[in-house]
């Protein structure tokens, strides 16, 4: 028995086990984040949200998933069949891989590689490509417009993200996510958000990363891609049943990934704010707090215009993030 356990915890099996756990974590989260969002939206709007299905609507996501599974997967006439079917498959991949390198606690890491941050951002653009494939192969004007918007939006927001990440890599000196978290041990004043000795504009940097994360995941107020009132459902117009369900889940998986990266880089990952009893609980608490704020923002603000979004990125976020990069490197060099 002990041999079996050792064998399971040996490298290849451990990774597979970790990936299985992560996939089920993502699946469960995607389902129950929908519940949180609907209940949250209801409460912001002074109404209860789903209450009928199960106690307080808790079974609602499961029932919705069963409904989506039971629908026919319609492939419209004249679409590019391979691309149309491949798009939902590809869209989940980058978030699952990204989540495998995030440290949930000191020991709970899928694969603690020393270029974790690079891996996340290298693969991060694949989901944009998948949405574009889905939109373009649908042979539907609304989908094509939406796909074009998604691509330009994501390209514009990749740049400030990477500039911020480079700043943080300089500040912490490592690309290994677990190492970054370990450096922030000792209490909340040691978190990167509050380390103003090396990066005096740390809160601004955090804000830039947060805004870019909202834009990368096509969340309101940057959800042009799914602007319902203009474009029906955007890039996902022609998808039915679980095809649409997968895109939907992928959006929540991306939010999970984005919030996890923000937590690890700025809020100290699994470190506790008082220095003791660090662990998984703190990571999850911080991540879910950020996710709640993402939901809060969605239900408060209207959508920006398309060119307002791009203006924000190219004219404001990139100069500011360049400035913080230069400032941090100057501070590091001098002090």
């Amino acid at each position: 028995m002990k041999n079996l356990l050792h064998m399971l915890l040996a490298e290849p099996f451990r990774l597979v086990l970790a990936l299985l756990v992560i996939m089920s974590f993502v699946g469960l989260n995607a389902a129950y984040l929908v519940w949180v969002e609907r209940k949250g939206a209801g409460r912001f709007q002074r109404r209860p949200g789903p209450t009928e299905v199960g106690y307080a609507g808790l079974i609602q996501p499961i029932v919705d998933a069963i409904k989506l599974l039971s629908k026919q997967l319609i492939v419209p006439d004249g679409v590019d069949a391979t691309l149309f079917r491949a798009a939902p498959l590809v869209v989940m991949v980058p978030s699952l891989i990204g989540l495998a390198v995030i440290p949930y606690s000191d020991k709970l890491v899928g694969r603690d590689i020393n270029v974790g941050l690079l891996l996340i951002f290298a693969l991060g653009s694949i989901n944009v490509m998948a949405i574009m494939l889905g939109g373009w192969s649908s042979r539907n004007k609304y989908a094509i417009i939406s796909a074009a918007r998604v691509v330009s939006q994501n390209v514009a927001y990749e740049i400030p993200t990477l500039l911020v990440v480079i700043t943080m890599i300089m500040v912490t000196g490592s690309m290994d996510l677990n190492e970054i978290v370990r450096q922030q041990a000792g209490g909340f004043w040691r978190w990167n958000l509050f380390r103003w000795d090396v990066n005096p504009l740390a809160p601004v940097t955090f804000l830039i990363l947060y805004v870019c994360m909202l834009a990368e995941t096509n969340r309101s107020p940057f959800d042009m891609a799914e602007a319902e009132s203009e474009l029906v459902a955007g890039a996902y117009t022609e998808y039915s049943g679980m095809g649409f369900g997968v895109f939907f889940m992928a959006e929540y998986a991306n939010i999970l990934l984005g919030c996890s990266v923000a937590t690890v880089l700025f809020l100290g990952g699994w470190q506790s704010p008082v220095g003791i009893w660090s662990g998984l609980f703190w990571f999850l608490a911080k991540m879910y707090f950020l996710i709640f704020s993402v939901i809060w923002i969605r239900w408060t603000f209207p959508r920006t215009q398309f060119y307002g979004l791009l203006n924000l990125s190219w004219k404001i976020l990139i100069p500011v993030s360049l400035f913080t990069l230069i400032l941090s490197s100057a501070m590091l060099k001098i002090f």
């Binding site: 409460r43 912001f44 002074r46 109404r47 923002i297 408060t300 603000f301």
Partner: protein
């Protein structure tokens, strides 16, 4: 340059204010009413479909088929017919059908009636399974309520040209559409509380 900074700061403040307002609303109670489990009280002047009013003394409907409501209706949805009973001065209503599929609840009929023989009901649970349920036979409804309340008025024979009055009350009634449970309460119980004017 300075303007750009000012704009960014003011804009950011507006975003924070907006979020503060929504967070405040988050912690306030819900304003909705969960309908099938909770209902709201219906105001006394609510405009539901019309119903015949029964005269408390005689127990018969006040309507004497003058057809003013039929003429006033813009949608042609009322059908009234009456017959003179033996020895009565005025006619009594024998048929009163309201085609609710055409009714627009304008109230012209209630306004046109000079004797207060019809009034608005406060019935809003009107889901049905067929169109025929909405061709409401208001006279039959009134008879059914009268029976349920234990007061059976003299029922004239329907649709018979009256040269001789009916000998006995009509033996058949259309079955009550909703099971009106007979209550052991004083008779003349009005099914819907009518407010006085």
């Amino acid at each position: 340059m300075k303007n750009a900074f000012k704009e960014i700061v003011v804009g950011f403040n507006s975003l924070v204010t907006g979020m503060r307002i929504t967070l405040g609303q988050f912690f306030k109670p819900a304003v909705t009413v969960q309908y099938p489990y909770e209902t709201l009280p219906i105001p006394p002047r609510f405009r539901g479909h019309i119903e015949l009013v029964r005269d408390p003394e005689t127990g018969k409907p006040k309507c004497f088929a003058c057809k003013l409501c039929e003429r006033a209706c813009p949608s042609d949805c009322i059908l009234v017919d009456g017959a003179k009973l033996d020895g009565a001065k005025k006619k009594s209503v024998t048929v009163y059908k309201l085609d609710f599929t055409k009714c627009s609840l304008c109230g012209s009929c209630v306004e046109a009636c000079r004797d207060g023989a019809i009034r608005f009901s406060r019935d809003y649970n009107l889901a049905g399974l067929s169109k025929e349920e909405f061709i409401m036979d208001l006279f039959a409804k009134l008879q059914a309520e009268a029976q349920a309340a234990g007061v059976t008025p003299e029922a004239p024979a329907p649709a018979e040209p009256v040269k001789t009055g009916p000998a006995a009350p009509a033996p058949t009634q259309t079955p009550p559409p909703a099971a009106a449970a007979p209550k052991s309460e004083p008779p003349q119980r009005e099914p819907v509380k009518a407010d006085a004017p």
